[in-house]
């Protein structure tokens, strides 16, 4: 990981909520541009907290967080939206807006960024078609299956061509076949230069793809090479049959 441009840099980062115990301790990491990492760890290990720091939903209690070379603690608040627009996030629970159509949900990052209606009409149907939802453009989330919702959520995360894609348990709600398709989609995005972090506790998924791992245990992070043996404490209930 040396020599490339750092998309994310954490240095001695600690996170605690209120007066509670520290969830993450002294986390230090560098993710260079175009890298692909899995983020693993048992439930409650702090994966979501780490991701929230990466997509700037939270501030660290201590330490340095740098995104695209910007130290978050010194970046003016008014400049943070522009940094967030370069990050695509796929949430475990999708977070689609129920009263908007699939088209409107996917178009949201473009509209927020002030894109023209012509750009929206050009790019959104194309992307929905790419993820196999060309027939569901006007469907609202409550009428979609789990896999379809997941694909809408992914389309929304990548519509604005983010430099960094963060996915929190993206395969948690889909079957193995869809999970494989999603992973190949992430790899395609990674090949065109997008830095990807996929949080999962699906052992089969992690072992099926040769990417390094960020492993969280008891709030401490270790960076493991691709193919490293799985620690004993990881939850292996998901995706056992996935190969």
């Amino acid at each position: 990981m040396l020599g490339g441009v750092d998309v994310i840099r954490f240095q001695n980062v600690g996170v605690r909520y209120g007066l509670g115990p520290e969830i993450l301790h002294d986390v230090s990491l560098r993710l260079e541009e175009g890298s692909f990492h899995f983020l693993t760890g048992a439930s409650g290990a702090g994966k979501s907290s780490l991701l929230r720091l990466m997509y700037l939903a939270n501030q660290p209690s201590r330490g340095l967080v740098s995104l695209f070379g910007h130290d978050i603690s010194t970046t003016p608040r008014r400049d943070l939206p522009n940094l967030r627009r370069q990050v695509g996030v796929v949430f475990q629970d999708f977070r689609l807006i129920d009263h908007l159509t699939a088209m409107e949900n996917v178009a949201l990052p473009l509209r927020v960024a002030g894109a023209s209606e012509a750009q929206v009409q050009e790019h959104v149907p194309e992307l929905l078609s790419w993820v196999g939802l060309e027939d569901q453009i006007d469907a609202r989330p409550p009428t979609l299956s789990g896999g379809q919702k997941q694909r809408v959520a992914i389309a929304r995360a990548i519509i604005a061509r983010p430099k960094l894609l963060l996915a929190d348990e993206p395969t948690g709600n889909v079957d193995d076949h869809i999970a494989m398709r999603l992973m190949h989609l992430f790899e395609e995005l990674n090949k065109i230069g997008t830095t990807v972090v996929v949080a999962t506790h699906n052992k089969a998924l992690v072992t099926g793809f040769a990417h390094p791992r960020l492993h969280l245990a008891d709030g401490e992070l270790s960076v493991l090479k691709a193919g490293s043996p799985f620690p004993e404490n990881i939850d292996q209930t998901d995706g056992e049959g996935l190969r």
Partner: protein, 296 residues
Amino acid sequence: MRSAPVLPLTRDASSRFLPWLIAFMVWLAAMALAAVLVLSSFGNQWRNNLTGTLTVQIAATPDGQSATTEQRLNRALDILRKTPGVLKAEALPLKQISDLLAPWLGRDVVTETLGLPIPRLIDVKIQPDANIDVAALWERLNKEVDGTQVDDHGTWLDKLITLAAAVEAIALAVLALISVAAIATVVFATRTSLTIHHEVIELLHVIGAKDAYVADQFHRHALGLGLKGGIAGALLATATLLGLGSLWTGVESSLMPPVSLNIWQWACVLAVALAAGGISTVTARITVLRALGRMP
């Protein structure tokens, strides 16, 4: 293609009750404002009509001889007209005095048959810039025509104007309180909506929406609700004021000037509706921006 609003604010319960609350507050505010404007007009009219005037009362002679009273009246008129600063001094005709007393004593009060010793009144107009010493004038008149009284209306006029000013101040205070209540209501409704739509707002925040993007949606929604309620309240207030105006025309009183609002005063009253929209918009925007400012 027109896309649906990202935040479904129209579905919130506050969208249903807020226009009614605003309509009620606008009605109250318009009534308070109308009261302020009317009382202010009253005060001005009282000042204009009665300041710069004196009423001199010539007591009737005890023998009731009208000829003697006429002589005393003419003597007083002569003194008054020669007093520097007096613009005009006119005796009230007996017919007018009779009309004034008619409600209490009947129409025959100054006729030969009844022949009561009725005092005569002189209406004195003073030059606006004149500074007449009323006490000295009174003393001089009494030397020449005993039993003369001079009334500059100051005592009761001051009390009346003070009373009107107090009521006006209370109406202004009511207006201010209604404004504060309106702001508090919009703040409460906006905070409730922020809580209801917290997840969508956090999503917008994460995908890079600026605070202004979210605030725009809230303030446009609040403007719509504020204007809807404001227009309803203003229409109700207009109907109420027109009704009160028509009732007032039936009240005969020389003290109470006719109640009517001029076009500018009507514009002020109706502007309360626009103010409701403005207050709602600004309050919602500030509330949202302050709440979002607490997010990272």
